[in-house]
Amino acid sequence: MNRFVWPLIAVAGLLVFLVMGLRHGDPRALPSPFIGEPAPVFELPTLMNPEVNIGTNTFAGDYALVNVWATWCVMCRAEHPFLLELAARKAIPIYGINWRDSRLEAMRWLDELGDPYLASAYDEDGRVGIDWGVYGAPETFLVDPEGTVIYKHLGPLDPVIWQREFVARMSGGGQAK
């Protein structure tokens, strides 16, 4: 074999290694959507009552929407009416993660605009946001009854996205109206 083949072999080896590295994907290391993985476990005080905790178990057993929001997020305000509408027609249980926000402002916001959430977790320092790979608010996760994240949407929700991306992913669409 001639020596000019060695670079080819070396690079082929490197590429195999990189493919393995890419496959290896660990959600903590890769802030990529970890769709198909169990929802990251968390335990946080609720927004309304710091004494009460809310966590991953809270929404087990049914499809649930986990919406990451904050009062400083303009696009959250834009999607808020649609969340209220979903809540009003009981389309799906909605939980909030109030992200890197101030408790008082967040409570005032829900007071003024209405509260679509069964409960909101209060993630003051954004730790849980990091576990969930939150890139920016608003972000909405669809979690199935087994607690697996089956979809993640970046940016505000609207009826079109809801129908196309969320309803379509829930088996027995009957639950979702």
Partner: protein, 654 residues
């Protein structure tokens, strides 16, 4: 409407890129001039459409079109206009479009200035560049479309990452990318030469200026990035061995090796297959850098938002391009090397050593960058290989490199008479060792072995770079007896010497001190008094900030007032540190606000950084050296002469 025009323009650019690839390559193979003739037109057309797309995205940013998802995510109404423009390349999709735009720009430049090249060769070069354009255009259109709509449109955007809201970072990516992408030209020349199986010394001459231009932009881009990290990240360091920094540094090291090896190939017709391999490697490392940054495979402060499909796409493209090139290389390279010899004491030997050491240095960086990934795959642990490892490992090839550099510059091609060589180098060597001890001892009051080695090496390079220009200045007043090419080399090496001096002194004598400070108090660092006069609130266009006023004095004598800020960006809520810096050629005095410790009390990081400006000044001078070198007459004169001969031949055969 405008975003759709942009998207459509990208699709048209893709179709033209396909024409630009297929027709010239097939035409060159068949000797069909009509098909080869398509190359230049298609390249120009592709460039125009990419420019339209780029313009459309810029327009969407400037007019706050938040119905475009990418704009909504990375801009905001109150963002200053400069940053609305630079936000175009502030994240993955847009920076990819910038990459495509610059690639098309380089292609047009090659098409425009390649009239001196044989038709088939030029057609192949443009064809190969077209193939690269196809890959990146597909990447953009399939996985990273910057024109995706957001329905309904957002009321306001999510703002640009505050780290990027800085003039330094507005210009850093374009400069860096011009360099990165520029290596595609050397790559295309290498592939074209291998396809035709015809690689002579003219090939090296054609490739050299393109490589030098790419290299000089990469140098500027890296230097600007380092400068930005220094004042914006608030840590006061200038190089962090971060995976993404390394991704830009590896092509730079190989590009530097390529420049030197091209010199040997051009002058002596040696190292041909080696030069080809370096040309392939330099661009492959640019692609690898793109992959590392955009796949999320490595955790880094710079990493773009990640998406596995993007990682797989870019990796597949990388595999096709690099493996294809290397298969061609394994097939063609064996027939290229000539047996012309050179004696052990000759410039060839030194340039060979230069190449070996630069490749070793690149390997060190590559291993350091990828090893956290190896460890994680093997054990599941996340480790980071920090600066200590890099600093030591990197010095191993670098110290001999800078010492050999001074010798190699004054060694003749083929063979050098040892006696006259030793006589010439004796004086710079003595000066270097003397100043190597004197600078640290007298100016800064301390010596150590590494310090003396660093300072002596720096002086050694500076003095040996100056010999030739100074001599030619003295011999004949007014007219320089030195070619631009040689002068460029001397200037670039001078820059390297200044860089080594700055890096050595700042790492040995820099002082960093974290302390608590409140108004009225003062602290002393490195002989300077830093007194906090007061704190105030400041309002920026899209941030609010706390600003400290700090007065610096030296033995009761006033030196400067600086105003470091702690900014809170309103939309992204992230705190940012704006360091206060009193910059000087001999030293920087640097204060950054840390955290608020209590009422009115702040932790501050105070730094004294002697000669740190030499680091960037050195890089700037290196780039200037590149600029001088490409202005050498022979590149232009010969191209024109060549063109005349070609047309003459064509007429003769017609």
């Amino acid at each position: 409407m405008i975003p759709e025009i942009g998207q459509f323009a990208l699709i048209l650019a893709l179709s033209l890129a396909i024409c630009q690839t297929v027709l010239p390559l097939v035409g060159a193979q068949r000797g069909d001039t009509a098909m080869m003739g398509v190359a230049r037109t298609a390249a120009t057309g592709q460039f125009l459409f990419v420019a339209v797309a780029f313009g459309c995205l810029t327009y969407a940013f400037v007019t706050d079109d938040f119905s475009v998802l990418y704009v909504a995510n990375h801009s905001q109404l109150s963002l200053p206009n400069l940053y609305k423009v630079s936000a175009v390349w502030g994240a993955h999709e847009g920076s990819l479009l910038l990459w495509i735009f610059l690639l098309a720009g380089w292609t047009v430049a090659v098409a425009r200035f390649s009239s001196g090249l044989p038709d088939a060769f030029a057609a192949r070069v443009i064809g190969v560049l077209g193939f690269l354009s196809i890959g990146f255009l597909l990447f953009a259109l399939l996985t990273s479309n910057p024109f995706d709509r957001l329905v309904p449109a957002a009321v306001d955007g999510g703002d640009l990452n505050p780290l990027l809201q800085d003039p330094g970072l507005a210009f850093h990516p374009p400069l860096l990318y011009i360099g990165y992408v520029g290596f595609s030209v050397a790559f295309a020349f290498a592939i074209a030469a291998m396809i035709s199986g015809d690689l002579d010394q003219r090939w090296a001459k054609w490739t050299r200026p393109w490589t030098t231009v790419a290299w000089l932009f990469l140098t500027l881009g890296i230097a600007l990035g380092s400068w930005w990290a220094y004042y914006e990240l608030g840590w006061g360091g200038w190089w962090f061995w971060d995976a993404v920094e390394n991704a830009s540094f590896m092509p730079w090291l190989i590009g530097t090796a390529l420049i030197h090896s091209l010199a040997v190939t051009e002058k002596r017709g040696l190292f041909k297959s080696w030069t080809l391999l370096l040309a392939i490697t330099a661009f492959s490392l640019s692609l690898l850098g793109t992959f590392l940054v955009r796949s999320g495979i490595i955790v880094s402060v710079h990493a773009f938002a990640t998406d596995p499909t993007r990682g797989f796409f870019i990796l597949s493209f990388l595999a096709i391009v690099v493996l294809g090139a290397l298969v061609l290389y394994a097939w063609r390279a064996p027939s290229l090397d000539s047996d012309a010899g050179f004696s052990p004491l000759s410039r060839e030997t030194f340039l060979l050593l230069n190449n070996v050491l630069l490749v070793v240095a690149t390997t060190v960086v590559l291993i350091g960058t990828l090893s956290p990934l190896v460890v994680e795959m093997a054990t599941g642990d996340k480790i980071s290989i920090g600066p200590p490892w890099f600093n030591v490992a990197f010095l191993v090839p670098m110290i001999p490199l800078v010492i050999l550099l001074g010798m190699g510059m004054h060694t003749a091609w083929r063979t050098q008479n040892a006696g006259s060589w030793a006589r010439l180098l004796r004086i710079p060597a003595i000066i270097a060792i003397l100043l190597g001890v004197v600078i640290p001892l007298l100016v800064y009051g301390r010596v150590s072995i590494l310090l003396v080695v660093g300072c002596a090496a720096a002086v050694w390079i500076v003095v040996s770079s100056l010999i030739q220009p100074v001599r030619s200045l003295l011999r004949e007043k007014g007219t320089a007896g030195i070619t631009r090419s040689a002068l460029g080399m001397c200037v670039a090496h001078l820059g390297m010497g200044l860089f080594v001096l700055g890096a050595t002194v700042v790492s040995a004598f820099g002082v960093e001190s974290d302390q608590a400070l409140q108004p009225g108090q003062s602290i002393e660092v490195a002989g300077y008094d830093f007194r906090m006069v007061g704190l105030s609130n400041v309002q920026g266009p899209n941030f609010s900030a706390i600003e400290a006023e700090i007065e610096i004095s030296n033995d009761g004598e006033f030196v400067a007032t600086i105003r470091p800020q702690k900014r809170q960006y309103l939309v992204q809520k992230s705190p940012m540190t704006e360091a206060g810096i009193r910059a000087g050629l001999d030293k920087d005095l640097f204060v950054a606000l840390g955290d608020q410790l209590g009422n009115n009390t702040w932790s501050v990081r105070v730094q004294y950084k002697p000669l740190i400006r030499f680091i960037w000044l050195g890089a700037l001078i290196m780039a200037l050296g590149g600029l001088i070198a490409i202005s050498d007459r022979r590149y232009r004169v010969n191209v024109r002469k060549k063109a005349v001969i070609e047309t003459g031949e064509a007429e003769a055969t017609a």
